[in-house]
Amino acid sequence: MQSKRFHIQANTDVHVLLNNVTYLTRQKVVDEVAITEIATVTSELAYNIIKYGCSGTITLSYSDTQCIIEAIDNGTGMQMSIEKAFVEGNSSSGSLGLGMSSIVRMSDEFNLTTSDSGTCVTCIKEY
C-alpha cells in the first residue's frame, strides 16, 4: 500500500492535490472513468475541508485493487443534522450541497465520523 498525504488549508493546496491525484492514480489505474471518479471524490473532500474545516489533510493510499481516500479536518463537525447533510440540495455552506451525496455515489465504500472536534471521511474506490 503506497500512501501520500497532503495538507489542505487554502485553494492553492487543493490545486496541488488535484495535480497530484491524477498523476498518482494513473500509476495504478488504466480506466479513465475510475481515474476521474477518484479525482472528483478527492476534489469534493478537499473543498469540503476548506469550506467547513478550515484546514486538514487528505491521504491517498493505493493498493493493486483499490484507492483509499481519507480526509480529516479539524473543524467543528457537521452543523446540520447528519441525516440532512446527505440529502441533495441541503447545504449549510450556501453552496449547492451536492458534494456529500455525490461522494457516496462514486465510492465503493464510504465511512464518516464527525464530532465537534472534526470530521473524518474515508472513501474506498475499487478499480
Binding site: 483509499i68 463537525g77 443534522s81 447528519i82 457516496v104 464510504f110 464527525t114 473524518c120
Partner: protein, 636 residues
C-alpha cells in the same frame, strides 16, 4: 427495501427485561434502536425500557442526535444507566447513520467482510463521553447490520452464511445459540434487499486488496477525530455540572513516584492496559469502566498521555489539569476519588483496591513489565527467553573480546619482557667488567619502570573485564584511550597508525561495556586493514561535540553486507576468526544501555576508502547537566 427482524430473550420475565429493541419505518428511511438498561429482573428496569421505547415511538422522526439527547433526559436513565445503539437507514441514499454508546456489539456484514461498527465508551446517564460522535457508512445490496446487547456472546460463526440466509434465520440462531443464560439478551438484524450493488465483490478483500486488517480497522474507527467536551448535549448532567463549577478543587499529593506503573499514550493502550489491570488488581466493573472512560477521554479530548500508578491499596491515574475536565471527572467518579496536585498542574483520579497488592513481589514486577511492553502472556514468555538468550550472547561476546584483549596484552608485554631479558642478560657482563653503584641503581630503576608498565597493563585488563553493577558518568576520551593504549603495541606490530583527535565530554553508562565497543571497532578495523594488505594503514578515532567516529582506510564494507553487519552471528571473517557477535553487542550496548546510536557507512578520505562507524551519545555538557534528547519524555 430493508428486511429486518429482532428478538428479545428476557432473563426472568418480559416485565423485568432491561433490553429493548424497536424499528420504525417510513417511506425513505428506517429508524432502529437497541438498548440495554443497567440491571435486569426488576419491574423498575422493565418500566424504564418500556418508557424509552414509547418515547422513541413518539419521536422517531427526529434526527439521531436529537433522539440521543432526548433518551438521556428520560427520568430513570440517570439512575440505572443505559447502553444504546441508534441507527437510521437512508434507503434512498443506501446509507446508515448511527450513534452508539456503551457495550453494544454492532457489525456491518458486507461482501468485503465483516466490520465492527464504532461505539463510544461510557454509559448513557452515567459516564457519557465528553463528546458524542456520529457515524455514517454506506450499504450495498445484500449488506447487513447486526446489533446485539452484551447479553449475547461472540457470534461470528452465525454470520458466515449471512448473504444466503434470511434475517429471521440469522437472528433466531444468534439468540438461541449465543444468548447468555444469566442476562437479558437482544438482537436486531437488517439486510439491504435493494440499493446500490457493488461493481466488484471480493471474497477476501483483506488479502486480495492488500489492505491489512489493521488498516481496515483504522478506517472503520478513525480515532483521529476524537471529540471534545459536549456536556451541553447531555443536558441531564447540566444542573449537577453547574454545582461542580462552584465547588473549590480538592488538593491531593501526587502518587509516590516509586509506584509508577505505566503510561497510556493511546486509546488502544488505555483499553488494553486497563483491562489487564482490572484482572490483576481485581477491580470491579464500575471501577474499570470509570478509569477507562476517564483515561480515554483524557487521551482523546485533551490529547495528553495518562500515567498509571499502583500502590498496595490504590490505583491512580494522573494527567495535566484541565478545569472543565476536572468538573466532568468529579461527576463520573465522585469527588472523593479526584484531586489536584498541590502545584495545580496535575489531575489525580484513583480507586481503592478491594484486596491489597504486593507490589514488591516478582510476580508483580513481571506483570508490570509485561503491561509496559504491551504484550500478551505468551509473547512475554518468549520475551523472557529472548532476554536470557541476550545474556548468553553478551557472555559469548565478552569471552570473544577477552580473547582479543589477551592477544593485545601478549603484544603489549612482548616488548617489556624483551627489555627485562636484555637487562638481566647484560648484568653478568657488567659484573665481570666491574659494576658500579650507578649501574645497580639504573638496573633497579629501569626494571621497576618496566614492571610498573606491565602491572598497569594488568590493571587496565582487569578494569576492562570487571562487571559493572551500576551506571557511572565517565570521560569518553579517557576511556577510549584506556582501551587503545592496550592495543597500541599490537597495532604498531601490524604497521597500523592510530590517530586520535578532537575533544569530547562525559556520558553515563557501563564503562567496561563502552570499552568493549571501542575494542571491537578498533579490532575490526585492524583485521580489515591486515586483510587488505596495503602499506598505508590508518585508524582514526575522532571526537566531536556529540559523537565519536572510528574510521579506517581498508576499502570499506561490501555494499551487499553493510545492512546486515549489526545482526547477531553475522561475520565476513573466515571460519573460526570471527564470532559475528562484536558489532551486534556493540549496537545493544550503545542503543539499549546508553540511549545512543551506532551506525556504519563507507567513506572516502584523503587516506583512501574505508569504513566509518559513528557513535552518537547523550553527552553531558557538565557533570550534572545531561543534554536533553530531542525525543525526551516529560513525566510526572
Amino acid at each position: 427495501m430493508v428486511s429486518h427482524t429482532f428478538k428479545l430473550k428476557p432473563f426472568t420475565s418480559q416485565k423485568g427485561c432491561g433490553d429493548f429493541v424497536c424499528v420504525f419505518e417510513r417511506d425513505n428511511d428506517l429508524l432502529f434502536a437497541l438498548g440495554d438498561i443497567g440491571g435486569h429482573g426488576s419491574i423498575e428496569v422493565g418500566n424504564l425500557a418500556e418508557k424509552m421505547r414509547a418515547w422513541l415511538n413518539e419521536n422517531y422522526q427526529l434526527a439521531i442526535k436529537e433522539l440521543f439527547n432526548g433518551l438521556s433526559k428520560i427520568e430513570g436513565v440517570e439512575k440505572f444507566g443505559a447502553t444504546v445503539f441508534l441507527g437510521r437507514v437512508d434507503t434512498a441514499q443506501s446509507l446508515l447513520h448511527y450513534m452508539s454508546i456503551g457495550d453494544v456489539k454492532a457489525f456491518k456484514i458486507a461482501s468485503t467482510g465483516i466490520k465492527n461498527l464504532s461505539t463510544q465508551q461510557g454509559v448513557l446517564g452515567f459516564t457519557a463521553p465528553n463528546s458524542m460522535k456520529e457515524f455514517v457508512t454506506n450499504l450495498n445490496q445484500n449488506d447487513g447490520i447486526v446489533v446485539t446487547s452484551d447479553g449475547v456472546t461472540s457470534f461470528n460463526d452465525a454470520l458466515s452464511d449471512f448473504s444466503m440466509s434470511s434475517v429471521e434465520t440469522v437472528c433466531g440462531q444468534i439468540i438461541s445459540q449465543y444468548a447468555k443464560k444469566d442476562d437479558d439478551a437482544s438482537c436486531l438484524v437488517l439486510k439491504m434487499e435493494g440499493g446500490k450493488s457493488k461493481r466488484k465483490a471480493l471474497d477476501s478483500p483483506m488479502v486480495e486488496s492488500g489492505v491489512t486488517q489493521e488498516e481496515y480497522n483504522r478506517i472503520e474507527a478513525p480515532d483521529s477525530t476524537a471529540a471534545k467536551i459536549t456536556a451541553k448535549q447531555l443536558s441531564p448532567q447540566n444542573s449537577s455540572l453547574e454545582v461542580a463549577h462552584q465547588r473549590s478543587p480538592d488538593f491531593i499529593a501526587l502518587p509516590d513516584e516509586n509506584t509508577f506503573f505505566c503510561v497510556l499514550d493511546s486509546q488502544l493502550a488505555a483499553r488494553k492496559k486497563i483491562r489487564e489491570l482490572k484482572d490483576y488488581l481485581q477491580l470491579s466493573d464500575k471501577q474499570r469502566i470509570s478509569m477507562k472512560s476517564i483515561a480515554l477521554e483524557a487521551i482523546s479530548s485533551l490529547g495528553v498521555d495518562v500515567n498509571v500508578y499502583v500502590s498496595e491499596s490504590r490505583m491512580s491515574i494522573t494527567f495535566p489539569y484541565n478545569k472543565a475536565f476536572y468538573q466532568q471527572v468529579n461527576l463520573v467518579i465522585g469527588r472523593e476519588h479526584v484531586g489536584i496536585s498541590p502545584c495545580g498542574k496535575w489531575l489525580v483520579v484513583w480507586v481503592l483496591l478491594a484486596n491489597n497488592v504486593n507490589i514488591t513481589s516478582t510476580v508483580f514486577d513481571e506483570f508490570k513489565e509485561r503491561v509496559q511492553l504491551g504484550i500478551s502472556e505468551e509473547n512475554y514468555a518468549q520475551y523472557q527467553q529472548d532476554q536470557k538468550r541476550d545474556v548468553v550472547l553478551a557472555q559469548q561476546a565478552k569471552l570473544a573480546s577477552m580473547g582479543e584483549m589477551i592477544g593485545a596484552i601478549a603484544h603489549q608485554w612482548r616488548q617489556p619482557l624483551n627489555e627485562l631479558a636484555l637487562r638481566i642478560q647484560t648484568l653478568k657482563y657488567k659484573v665481570k667488567k666491574g659494576i658500579t653503584d650507578d649501574d645497580i641503581n639504573s638496573f633497579i630503576k629501569d626494571n621497576l619502570v618496566t614492571i610498573d608498565f606491565m602491572s598497569k597493563t594488568v590493571d587496565d585488563f582487569r578494569n576492562f573485564f570487571r562487571i559493572d553493577k551500576s551506571k557511572e558518568v565517565f570521560d569518553v576520551a579517557k576511556t577510549v584511550e584506556s582501551v587503545v593504549v592496550l592495543q597500541q603495541a599490537q597495532l604498531q606490530s601490524n604497521g597500523i597508525d592510530l590517530v586520535i583527535s578532537g575533544a569530547t565530554g562525559d556520558v553515563e553508562g557501563f564503562k567496561s561495556e563502552f570499552q568493549q565497543v571501542i575494542l571491537n571497532l578498533v579490532s575490526n578495523a585492524r583485521d580489515a586493514l591486515n586483510a587488505k594488505g596495503n602499506s598505508n594503514k590508518v585508524i582514526e578515532i575522532a571526537f566531536d561535540l556529540n559523537k565519536i567516529t572510528v574510521t579506517d582506510n581498508a576499502g570499506g564494507i561490501p555494499p551487499d553486507v553493510i545492512e546486515r553487519i549489526f545482526e547477531p552471528y553475522f561475520t565476513t571473517k573466515a571460519h573460526g576468526e570471527g564470532t559475528g557477535m562484536g558489532l551486534y553487542m556493540s549496537k545493544m550496548i550503545i542503543n539499549d544501555h546508553m540511549e545512543g546510536e551506532i551506525t556504519a557507512k563507507n567513506v572516502t578520505t584523503v587516506k583512501g576508502k574505508g569504513a566509518e562507524f559513528t557513535i552518537k551519545l547523550p553527552f553531558y555538557d557538565s557533570p550534572r547537566n545531561k543534554l536533553p534528547k530531542a525525543t525526551a519524555e516529560l513525566r510526572v
